[in-house]
């Protein structure tokens, strides 16, 4: 009948999740804030992957962008300024069944949390880290961030930021055991979605820097990129990002950069903020790097009886 196999049965999945299942109330960022786009992208990926909401944990620090977990209808952890990464690693340590998304700002990650940043990359746990880089401290109202361009006028440097900005891509590629580095922009939703999707599927810590507009304080910093896509360099490769041709067409500059090539990845990252075009796509990927999860999950699932027996033996080592 109707061309169906005879033994066809209606067997819908017990639960089917729609976007609504991941939408936690009305997001309250400033109108025009780039954070909205990232939120939508993550919700769509959760829906596409049919992740049970109870198995998703959004972890953040403090900042405008760190409001992220409040707008997900999943589990969330909105913790301390600079400290989302240790929390995320702790959550994942004995819960490989949970999908952990980290939302962190450029102050949160690259300044107060920089120490954790280095080490989380080295642990390479299976989590997805999204750096919302708006080049400024938003929540505390317009102070210089480590990624603020030199000369940016802020409340702490009203005559212009003194120092050259820290380059997060360059930094991450220098951290030992880094396994996935990508960059996206908030104003191109399909690209953002594709990059985050690639990040989600990578086993290990995927680090995605998102150039994120802050209409209130740094409205101008990404103007040139927004209005002149020629200043961006789309990285496309079968082991990295595979873009829909319709979307790829708007980028005049493309590269077939192989994300396993660290030397080239570093050269591409160096261009960021310097002479060349700003890369978008997967800059580096090495799925063979060791992941800390392999060690943290050892011994899970021992029964109480097994534990008691092992403990008895431990006590006997001290017996007289």
């Amino acid at each position: 009948m109707f061309g169906l196999e005879e033994d066809w049965e209606l067997d819908p999945p017990a639960r089917y999740f729609t976007l609504e299942d991941y939408e936690g109330g009305v997001a309250r960022w400033c109108p025009g804030c780039g954070d909205f786009g990232v939120l939508t992208a993550v919700q769509k990926i959760c829906r596409d992957e049919q992740l049970p909401p109870e198995k998703v944990v959004a972890v953040s620090g403090i900042g405008c962008s760190s409001r992220f977990p409040h707008y997900m209808k999943t589990y969330g952890f909105h913790g301390l300024h600079g400290r989302p990464l240790p929390v995320a690693c702790g959550i994942k340590s004995r819960r490989p069944d949970l999908q952990v998304w980290v939302a962190t700002g450029d102050g949160d990650c690259c300044s107060i949390g920089a120490g954790h940043w280095i080490h989380a990359i080295r642990y390479n746990m299976d989590i997805t880290v999204m750096l919302f880089d708006n080049n400024v401290y938003g929540l505390t109202k317009n102070q210089t961030s480590p990624t603020s361009p030199q000369g940016l006028k802020t409340n702490t440097h009203p005559r212009g930021a003194w120092l050259p900005p820290l380059n997060p891509l360059q930094a991450v590629l220098g951290f030992t055991n880094c396994s996935f580095v990508a960059q996206a922009v908030d104003w191109n939703p399909p690209l953002l979605h594709a990059v985050l999707e690639a990040a989600y599927h990578h086993k290990g810590t995927s680090f995605v820097r998102i150039l994120q507009r802050c209409p209130t304080y740094t409205d101008q910093v990404f103007h040139h990129l927004q209005h002149d896509p020629a200043q961006l360099l789309l990285l496309q490769h079968e082991d990295g990002l595979v873009m829909d041709e319709k979307i790829a067409r708007i980028f005049p500059n493309k590269s077939g950069h192989d994300p396993s090539n660290m030397k080239e990845a570093r050269a591409i990252a160096d261009a960021d903020g310097g002479e060349g075009a700003i890369p978008v796509g997967v800059v580096y990927r090495d799925p063979t790097r060791p992941i800390y999860d392999e060690f943290t999950t050892v011994g899970m699932g021992m029964t109480a009886d097994q534990k008691i027996e092992a403990l008895g033996q431990e006590l006997d080592r001290f017996a007289i």
Binding site: P53, H70, P86, V87, G90, G299, I320
Partner: protein, 637 residues
């Protein structure tokens, strides 16, 4: 004590004199193996059925220069025919590898008239005239002070067996002590076999030869021939220090994640866990710093596995922001602070009880949390089990305070029998009742059930911001007031379940000494000695400092005077200003007790970086009585 007083008895094997207890020290430059030999001797004593307490003598530097006065490294072993709970007063017998290291010990009051010091005679024949002279000067000075100094050819005897006697003499000393106190040499040989088990047969037998040589030397030169009869043992025992007890307690509590950053004197807990935690399925995470360590632990706890983080003062300071978050977000967590001397880097290897207020009030805002203090090595074990349960039942962080004295003190304790109810249950993944909010506070107790990631329908966002019962951020006055009340009420609820502390001694009297933490054994021993002298003194010892144990006011009021004793700073009498009610800075503990009871609690405490000995406390008690009767005399018409 009946020692042979001169060489005339050498070589005779007469009956041994029985004594109730002995204090022995081995002191040396660091790296000479004194601690290893002393731990082994302590184990031999324990296996012989004695009560034992060993305490390490630790120089502040890892490698102080050789023969330096402040560089004393070594160990004290106190053993006796009863349970031993502290390091005791002055030593009876000392084995010293050189004379200079004794100066530091003498300055600390570790020896008395009649303390018998056995000193390696090799320095008398040293190539350097300065060393020879220093040696002779020291011996003369020591004899002047009333110590009985005897030289013996330690390295010389060892050189008969091994090429480099510097690294083997500790085992010779183990053999010598074994003989001096009439222990079974087989026990010492077995200890050596255990100590060197990873080094192969040859090393074991060489060390056993040294033990036999030391033992034989003792037999021929029987200058000490004592015997400490065993006590009656009712249960099987394990020999552990406080940090090993904590590590075992962590395993027994079913805690699966410990995250830490190395810091003395807490670090050795992680060494024990590094060695064995995996055997009970546990994960030891050495984080990049203390903040990350507690962050990782908070994450694991949030995800359903109540975790533990271990640190000492400076690390506790770094953790405060996360402790506040754990209180605010109601995350069960066990935090252990093995206290050392502060402030700042302070005395890294030495004991103090100075983190009391920091643990209570360290976090910004009002952050009520449960704080317990272990008073004995055995409690180090059992408190972790209790702490994990309280953390889960009361949904928040529980702090356990121990200190360097407990961390390094070694004692035989009854072997715990692991029980299923000690162990954390598996994570609950059952659906969450959608009618129950994430913080469904019971208005009476502030308690609420906790959804864990993986439970469908329980999704909520844990936030450090002020929030309502359904975990929504709320800055309005009522919500904030309510949240604060609910978190505070949990302490009141716990307090209702606590019993008033037991008074040690008479239930009422003139003086009540109050303590907490590792000073228990010394305080009770001092109180007993003072009572034997006819002084009307009792003591109480607290295990819970937050919430404070109930009934303190009633107990305090049954005594004329209350004195808080501990290892914290207080302005002492000699320097006390004219008006002690306004100008004197009291110890943190005394201030807490005053606040709790409104009783005029006095304080005596010192920060010498040393455990308090019963003798020091006894002096303080005597002085309290004499001052009081003098004052009473003055007011007589």
């Amino acid at each position: 004590m009946s020692y042979a007083t001169d060489g005339s008895t050498a070589g005779t094997v007469g009956p041994r004199t029985q004594v109730r207890e002995q204090i022995v020290e081995i002191v040396s430059d660091s790296g000479e193996g004194a601690q290893k030999a002393g731990q082994a001797f302590g184990a031999v004593c324990a296996k012989s059925g004695c009560g034992v307490w060993t305490v390490e003598i630790i120089p502040a530097e890892i490698k102080p220069p050789a023969r330096s006065r402040a560089g004393a490294s070594g160990i004290r072993i106190r053993f006796g025919s009863k349970v031993i709970t502290n390091m005791g007063n002055e030593a009876d017998v000392v084995i010293a590898f050189n004379e200079q290291v004794l100066y530091g010990r003498i300055q600390q009051g570790a020896y008395r008239k009649g303390t018998r010091i056995f000193l390696d005679s090799k320095w008398r024949k040293d190539d350097s005239p300065q060393i020879r002279e220093a040696f002779e000067t020291a011996i003369a000075e020591f004899r002047e002070k009333g110590f009985i100094v005897q030289e013996f050819p330690l390295e010389e005897e060892c050189a008969k067996l091994i090429a480099n006697p510097r690294v083997g003499k500790n085992m010779f000393v183990l053999g010598l002590l074994t003989e001096m106190f009439g222990m079974n040499v087989e026990l010492s040989l077995a200890e050596a076999a255990f100590l060197f088990r990873r080094k192969g047969e040859e090393v074991i037998s060489r060390n056993q030869d040294l033990i036999r040589a030391g033992y034989a030397y003792g037999q021929e030169n029987a200058e000490v021939a004592l015997e400490v009869p065993p006590r009656e043992l009712l249960t099987s025992q394990i020999v552990v220090n406080g940090n090993q007890a904590l590590a075992l307690g962590i395993m027994a509590a079913g805690i699966e994640v410990v995250a830490m950053y190395p810091i003395t004197p807490a670090t050795s807990v992680s060494h024990h866990l590094g060695d064995s935690f995996f055997r009970v399925g546990g994960l030891l995470h050495q984080a990049e710093d203390e903040i990350a360590a507690i962050g990782f632990a908070v994450g694991a706890s949030y995800a359903g596995k109540t975790a533990c983080t271990i640190t000492s003062g400076p690390g506790l300071a770094l953790k405060t922001e996360f402790i506040g978050l754990a209180v605010m977000g109601e995350v069960p967590l066990v935090i252990i602070d093995v206290q050392r001397g502060g402030p700042s880097t302070g005395l890294p290897t030495k004991v103090e009880q100075g983190d009391l207020m920091a643990s209570l009030y360290g976090a910004p805002g009002d952050a009520p949390k449960i704080i317990m203090a272990a008073a004995t090595i055995e409690e180090c074990f059992h408190m972790v089990i209790t702490a994990r349960k309280l953390a889960e039942a009361f949904r928040g962080p529980v702090l356990i305070l121990t200190d360097a004295n407990l961390a390094t003190g070694v004692q035989p304790i009854p072997r715990p029998e692991p029980r299923e109810e000690w162990i954390a249950p598996p994570i609950d993944s059952s659906p969450w009742d959608p009618n129950v909010t994430a913080y469904d506070w019971d208005p009476e107790t502030g308690l609420s059930p906790r959804p864990v990631p993986g439970q469908p329908g329980g999704e909520y966002v844990l936030t450090g911001l002020a929030h309502t019962g359904d975990a929504h951020v709320a800055y309005d006055p009522d919500s904030n007031q309510k949240g604060m009340e609910m978190r505070s009420r949990k302490l009141r609820a716990l307090r209702k379940t606590l019993r008033p502390p037991k008074v040690h001694g008479e239930e009422s009297g003139e003086l009540l000494v109050v303590g907490w933490g590792s000073t228990l054994g010394a305080i009770e021993e001092a109180v007993e000695a003072a009572r034997a002298e006819g002084l009307s003194v009792s003591s109480v010892h607290l295990r819970f400092v937050s919430p404070m144990e109930p009934g303190l006011k009633e107990i305090f009021e049954r005594f004329d005077r209350v004195l808080a004793i501990g290892i914290q700073y207080t302005d002492l009498d000699e320097y006390a200003p004219a008006d002690p009610t306004t100008d004197r800075r009291r110890s943190q503990f005394a201030s807490l007790l005053r606040d709790e009871t409104l009783v005029d609690v006095d304080s005596w405490s010192q920060v010498h970086g040393q455990p308090l000995s019963p003798g020091i406390i006894l002096d303080v008690i005597r002085k309290n009585f004499s001052q009081h009767s003098a004052a009473a005399g003055r007011t007589q018409p």
